[in-house]
């Protein structure tokens, strides 16, 4: 005679799949820490900004001749 319940509960394949998911619990969805990227990866944007800065900056002031 069973010690826990007189009637065996009935489970479905979906119950078994749910239990499998609980057993094989995935890792948390936090992102990995950011990885360092070499400076060269941002070189194109940096060069563009530097060029724009040079074009838009006022010219070097010249001292008037006496």
């Amino acid at each position: 005679m069973s010690v826990y319940t007189p009637v065996r509960p009935v489970t479905t394949p979906a119950d078994l799949a749910q239990l499998s998911k609980l057993v094989a619990e995935p890792e948390s969805t936090l992102a990995d820490p950011p990885l360092s990227t070499p400076n060269a990866a941002g070189g194109g944007v940096g060069a563009l900004l530097l060029g724009l800065g040079l074009l838009l900056s006022p010219p070097t002031p010249k001292e008037p001749r006496r």
Partner: protein
Amino acid sequence: MDASSCARDAAALADRVLGALRGSGGVGLADFLASRADPTAGLGAVRLVGADIFLPHVVLNRPLTAQDAEVVAASFEVFPQATEPVAPEQRVMAWHDWSTARLLATLTGDAAVAAPDDPAAVLGSVEKWARWSVAVAQLSSLAHPGATGPVVDAVAAQPQALCRGVLRAALRRDFVIASRLTRWVALTHAMGVRLPVNPVVLVDHVALRVGSEPRQLLDLAVARHLVGAP
């Protein structure tokens, strides 16, 4: 079956196992199941906690009562084992169940249970150590004192990947995975494998951050026992 009820019941059962390890008596599986509102979720919890329900018997040499053995057997009847696991979750479940059935057979004197398949099929390639370590963590119930078997051998053969995995989990602040992998690190240390991390310091580090979830506390209790820490 309600998955959240099953997870709650598993936490309650893990708490009972923790209490038994601290000397409060037996786990009392039959009593645990009788106290559950949903017996299906309760039996699911028995399968979810898996081989850990036998920790007081393994660690403290407590005898397994016939009633408790019947509850475990009933959980296998109600949730039949996958005969041909295909999906990754099914493979993890197959090894998790194997560990439970194997300890049950050892404690009851029944015939040995055949292992599911090649451990590489469930763990994956160690080259992809991050994914490999998550699979190892999912099989933490196989890492108990005196554990042997194909998965234990496969994990113990890769101490660097194991330690990379646990440090990655700690850096990600994923202390569910970290506590499970700490248990494997402790087992590997107990087997005499040289490790690139100090297992006692690791246990202390994770213990400060793991919170109060009974299943993680159980992982750390096993790890402490394996490294001989108080």
